[in-house]
């Protein structure tokens, strides 16, 4: 049984084909890095998985359920959490409130009118805040956080959701070496219980964390396999690694 399966996915905007017959299977409890040159369709693939955009054709199966074309919130409730490329946090709410919104065990608006504290929130908050290093910053407005802290906050928000599949779009962009190291150790820890798909340009980071690497080029699959295999692949070197390493 595959955890996440994408079958013959295509997406076009007018006449431009952005994703062309893309198929991939993600195995549970692994970390897959999605790489490719700019415009390869990495973020669009994430948009299609999370329902932000609807595919022109093809199917997306999550735990054998067809989730193609569902709304964003329905997909999120099934256990897919997403971190955006440009960190998206609620700038006029405090760090604590950001994490509280993300702790979305109950989503019914009417029931939520009568709830002032979510059960189990305090414990989860402590766990995630410690992990993300935000314990001292909980009462600060999210809008005044540094770029690195904002990245952490959004990763923390995804963790609050307790998703089974985490889609992380460039999680270490703008982080310092030390912060990247910390991210690596967190992601390695998450792999035991969660499945992660990470879009990243930083090849050193990819080498460090990836179980499998998927290379996209011009909207379709170029290569899929362990990092050593990918780096040895002549076509991959030609379109991507060659330029990146140069």
């Amino acid at each position: 049984m595959s955890f996440l399966e994408i079958r013959n996915l295509s997406k076009s905007f007018d006449t431009t084909q952005v994703i062309v017959d893309f198929s991939i299977e993600i195995v549970e409890a692994t970390l897959c890095c999605l790489v490719g040159p700019n415009g390869a369709g990495k973020t669009t693939t994430m948009d299609l998985i999370t329902g932000r955009q609807k595919p022109t054709s093809g199917q997306i199966l999550f735990c054998n359920d067809d989730i193609t074309g569902l709304d964003e919130h329905e997909i999120a409730r099934r256990g897919i959490g997403r971190k955006f490329q440009v960190p998206a946090v609620f700038r006029d709410l405090s760090v604590r409130q950001n994490l509280e919104v993300a702790y979305s065990k109950s989503t019914n608006p009417i029931k939520n009118m009568f709830r002032f504290r979510a059960t189990g929130f305090a414990q989860k908050l402590e766990e995630v805040a410690t992990l993300a290093g935000l314990t001292d910053r909980l009462n600060v407005e999210a809008g005044i956080l540094s770029h690195g802290e904002t990245q952490w906050l959004e990763i923390g928000m995804v963790l609050m959701q307790d998703p089974r599949l985490l889609l992380l779009d460039e999680p270490v962009a703008g982080m310092t070496e030390a912060e990247i190291e910390k991210t690596v150790s967190i992601f390695k820890g998450l792999k035991a219980t969660n499945t992660l798909v990470v879009v990243e340009h930083d090849m050193a980071f990819v080498r460090e964390i990836a179980d499998v690497v998927t290379v996209m080029h011009m909207g379709s699959l170029l290569a899929h396999g362990p990092i050593a295999e990918i780096e040895a692949n002549a076509r991959v070197r030609e379109v991507y690694l060659g330029d990146a390493e140069a």
């Binding site: 919130h73 999120a76 609620f90 405090s94 939520n112």
Partner: protein, 368 residues
């Protein structure tokens, strides 16, 4: 920590505010003045509804006159029918417009309870349907504001146009005050003032609790970034529709009270100027603060009553100019002024304690 953000202090401020309002009927013996203060309470309800929808939900609503006007017409129809009887079932204006029987949609208003229930349910239902359609299609921001404005104009024209049923531009003037069972609610009595005050109190406390709940938190997150909230598993359209509908319900309550106090309703209640002034009250008082918005309504309407005569034709110009100044220099309104003053005060106190943290940077932690 800025005391402005302390939830306990906020409740104390609410208590003090309503205690002052409760003193009014004791101090004011002039029944005309009391009636006028009661109508300010109605404006307070409207400002509260705008603050909930626009301040907390980020949904700019320029058509709050719709639920207000529908509620007001419902109440006027109910009160009109109280003066009719079996031998004389037609309101005089219908006779003048040569109708020979009561229109179908007037029938339920012969029963007072049913009439008042309808006055509240019809506008609420309208908001739920209109809001649901708009928010599901992800119409938001200025586009939603324009839709509400267009809808408001449509209602204005409709009410004006069907003269035989609504008496057109003349409006409906129920000849006698509202009767609830055996009780006659004299609009100039303290009882009328108390009715409005209690409704304002209940609406304010409910709205405040709502903003402190998880629902309120998600609504504030939607105001910041609706797109992001969807990916956390919340049905954003549902939250938006609900906050818009609740805000509409409060406006409908205000509409009913308005007619109870004035015994008059006309298409002017659907006038764009009126709906825009509600937004101005909330903007000047502080849309992010429920209490601020209510105070804004009191101040502006009070100024209009007492200074309006002096300026007469230029009043709207004065109001507009004042609004521009507030938007430019006080984006959080008068409540924002209080917030920063208290922030300065507590940060000075913080420094005295040897604590260098800028307290004004700290934000509330509800429930603590």
């Amino acid at each position: 920590m800025n005391i402005y953000h302390n939830v306990k202090a906020q409740w104390l401020a609410y208590a003090a505010f309503f205690a002052v309002l409760a003193l009014v009927p004791v101090l004011v013996s002039d029944s005309f003045l009391l009636n006028q203060f009661a109508t300010y309470g109605v404006f307070g309800l409207l400002a509260l509804s705008i603050s909930l929808c626009w301040g907390f939900g980020g949904i700019l609503n320029l058509g709050q006159g719709i639920p207000f006007g529908l509620g007001a017409y419902g109440m006027a129809m109910t009160m009109q029918m109280q003066s009719q009887d079996a031998s004389n079932p037609l309101p005089p204006f219908m006779l003048n417009n040569s109708l020979d029987h009561l229109p179908m949609f007037w029938e339920p208003f012969r029963n007072t309870t049913l009439g008042i229930v309808l006055s509240l349910i019809v506008p609420t239902l309208f908001c739920a349907i209109f809001g649901g359609l708009m928010f599901r299609a992800r119409v938001s921001g200025p586009f939603f504001a324009i839709m509400t404005l267009a809808m408001l104009s449509a209602w204005y024209t409709l009410i004006l146009d069907v003269q035989p049923y609504t008496n057109g531009a003349n409006g409906i003037t129920p000849p006698s005050p509202l009767k609830l069972g055996e009780i006659v609610v004299d609009p100039y009595s303290p009882a009328a003032y108390w009715t409005v005050l209690v409704l304002l109190l209940v609406a304010t406390v409910t709205a405040k609790l709502m903003t402190l709940s998880r629902f309120g938190l998600v609504v504030q997150a939607v105001r910041g970034d609706a797109e992001r909230v969807r990916f956390l598993g919340y049905n954003v359209a549902g939250y938006e529709t609900l906050v818009y509908t609740i805000s509409g319900f409060i406006a409908a309550v205000a509409g009913c009270c308005w007619v109870m106090l004035t015994q008059y309703v006309s298409p002017a209640q659907f006038d764009t100027t009126f709906s825009l002034s509600m937004v101005i009250w909330a903007g000047i008082g502080g849309r992010l603060s429920l209490l601020g918005a209510i105070v804004g309504a009191f101040l502006i309407q009070g100024a209009q009553s007492y200074l309006g005569d002096t300026f007469l034709n230029t009043w709207l110009l004065v109001l507009g100019g004042f609004f521009i100044l507030v938007v430019r220099f006080l984006p959080k309104g008068l409540a924002g002024l209080v917030e920063s003053a208290l922030g300065k005060l507590s940060s000075r106190r913080g420094r005295d304690d040897g604590n260098g943290v800028a307290a004004s940077r700290l934000v509330p932690q509800p429930g603590e």
